[in-house]
Amino acid sequence: MATEASTVEETTEEHADHLSPASYWMIALFLAIVTAVEVAITYIPGYDGTILVVSLLVLGVVKFLTVVAFFMHLKYEPFTMNFMFYIGLLGALALFIAVLLSFRALFDTF
C-alpha cells in the first residue's frame, strides 16, 4: 500500500523522554521573557557597542538552542541527527565568518 518505507509494528513510544504540555508552556514563557529582555536592552542608553553586541548574540543563541533542543527534541534524538545538524551549524558559522573576514566586513557590521 505505501510506496515509502513503512512498518507494521509501530513503536508506541519512540522517545522515552517526553515533556508535558505544561513544560512547553514554561519554555515558551522563557523564550518570551528573553525576547523582551533583548528588546529592552537595546533601549538602555549607554549600553551599546561591544557589550550590547555580545549580550544580544548570547541571548539569541540561548533562544536558538532552546528551540532546537526542546521544541525540536534534538536533545533526545540519536547522535546521528545531532551530528548532521551541528556540523551544518558550525560549518555555516565557520564558512561565513571566513567570508566576511575576507571582505574585512565582519567587524564593520557590528
Binding site: T7, W25, A32, L56, L59, E77, M84, L100
Partner: protein, 192 residues
C-alpha cells in the same frame, strides 16, 4: 500516508532525512544572512536600517512566531496522545499565527517601500528583501502544509499510526522559527 518506523541503527528514516535537509537549509540561510551582513551599510543613497526599522513592531512579529512554535509543539503533543481534535486546534493556531506573522511582514515591507527602500534601491535593499523574502516564503509553505494536514485530518484522520507527518512538519516549522531568531537578532537588533 506511510507509517513511521525505525530501522537498522534505531534511526527513523523520515526524521533522519528531515534533519539532513534542515542542516542543508542552515547553509542556505547562512549564505543569505552573510550577504546581508556584507551589504547592510551599502545603502546607495537610499534609506538605511536605522531610519526604517520599527523595533517594537518587529518584536511583536517575533513574539508571534515564537508562540507559533509553542502551538506547534502542542499540536505534536496532542497527536502523540491520539487527541485529534486538540491536534487540529493547535495546528490551526500555528497556521493562523504564521499568517499573522506574514501579514506583519507584508505590512512592514509596504512601509519600507513607501519610505524608499525597494529591491533595486541598493545592495542593502536587495539583500534585506532577499533574506526576509525567502524566509517569508518558507513560512508560507509551512502554513500551506499545516493547512493541508488539517484538511487531511478531517478527511481521513491523522492518527499516530498513519505516520509522522506532524512531527516532520513540526521540525520544519521550528526551523523556520530559529532562522527568524537569528534574523531578528542580527538584522534588526544589531543595527549599526
Amino acid at each position: 500516508m506511510a507509517v513511521a518506523h525505525t530501522t537498522s541503527g534505531g534511526l527513523d528514516i523520515r526524521k533522519t532525512a528531515m534533519w539532513a535537509f534542515l542542516a542543508s537549509e542552515l547553509m542556505f540561510f547562512g549564505a543569505l544572512i552573510s550577504t546581508f551582513l556584507l551589504y547592510r551599510s551599502r545603502t546607495n543613497g537610499g534609506p538605511d536600517a536605522h531610519e526604517l526599522f520599527d523595533i517594537p513592531f518587529t518584536s511583536v512579529s517575533s513574539f508571534v512566531l515564537l508562540m507559533s512554535s509553542l502551538t506547534m509543539v502542542l499540536a505534536h503533543n496532542a497527536w502523540e496522545r491520539d487527541d485529534e481534535r486538540q491536534m487540529r486546534l493547535w495546528l490551526l493556531s500555528t497556521a493562523g499565527l504564521g499568517m499573522v506573522f506574514l501579514g506583519g511582514q507584508f505590512f512592514e515591507f509596504s512601509t519600507f517601500v513607501h519610505e524608499g527602500l525597494k529591491l533595486n534601491t541598493s545592495p542593502f535593499g536587495s539583500s534585506f528583501y532577499m533574506l526576509t523574502g525567502f524566509h517569508g516564503a518558507h513560512v508560507a509553505v509551512g502554513v500551506l502544509m499545516l493547512s493541508a494536514m488539517v484538511i487531511i485530518s478531517f478527511r481521513v484522520g491523522l492518527t499516530k499510526s498513519r505516520g509522522m507527518n506532524v512531527e516532520l512538519i513540526a521540525l520544519y516549522w521550528h526551523f523556520v522559527d530559529i532562522i527568524w531568531i537569528v534574523i531578528f537578532t542580527v538584522v534588526y537588533l544589531l543595527q549599526v
